[in-house]
Symmetry: C2
Subunit: 150 residues, 2 copies
């Protein structure tokens, strides 16, 4: 079973299509044809993307959606949080519940994921390249030199 929601995966596909046709807006109908999903479903997924101003919409004939920013300025973390919620390993507010066992542990691991994904951009996703990451990222995990061109 995948740990990622379908909505995130399709959301990424949507954004990829929008990124490829920078110039003109893409209608939901076109997206539906290209991605093999229903228009209504894609509409729903576009809603949060628009509210977060990741995409901009144009109504009326020849309307559609386009990216609000260049793909290299859209972090995977943003998309992930929009489409499948925050990266939380335990969501008790106090971080002191029995389930927490070790709050510091979960927080560290959450930060690990977040920092990593904050440095991956839509451009990286599209080009199928491993992401460009700095050698070190704050106090959190980083990709290090790995012979893959980073």
């Amino acid at each position: 079973m995948s740990n990622l929601k379908t909505s995130l995966k399709i959301g990424l596909q949507i954004l990829s299509v929008l990124a490829r046709s920078e110039s003109r807006p893409v209608s939901v109908r076109e997206l539906a044809l290209e991605l093999g999903q229903s228009e209504k479903y894609l509409e729903q997924l576009l809603l949060p993307l628009r509210h977060a101003r990741l995409v901009t919409s144009l109504r009326g004939p020849h309307g559609g959606y386009h990216l609000s920013r260049p793909p290299s300025h859209i972090a995977l973390l943003e998309i992930l949080e929009l489409m499948q919620g925050p990266v939380t390993f335990c969501d008790c507010p106090s971080r002191q519940c029995a389930e927490c066992v070790s709050p510091a542990m979960w927080q560290t691991l959450e930060a690990c994921m977040e920092t990593s994904m904050a440095h991956v951009t839509l451009a990286d996703v599209m080009t199928m390249r491993p992401p460009k990451l700095p050698a070190r990222v704050g106090l959190s995990p980083v990709w290090v030199e790995n012979g893959l061109g980073i």
Copy 2:
């Protein structure tokens, strides 16, 4: 919503209890009392732990479960994979499906999580301390010095 299953969290609680009473085996009944869960439920959770030889069982009177290894030699990753399945962001076998968008991306992120959790031990979890991690871990993410005693 938490991204971790309850079974993992309770699994960790079980292992913590076992770790604290190293010397003698702990029966399911005792676990049930201590953790406030039904015996049958805990039995179910203990099954995969035993099959993976993380815990050893003794039958008959005064029987019960104990850890097969010291807590410092049980990686969080093992527990996680046993209790809530592998860390997979896309589970198509080919890694070439439409949902993949960027197989290299998911693989890198999966490796990030896995490597991080592979270096966290049950001992870390129990002591509520941030994990001890080497300054660098292969080609994957690491925790770096962060003033928390690592």
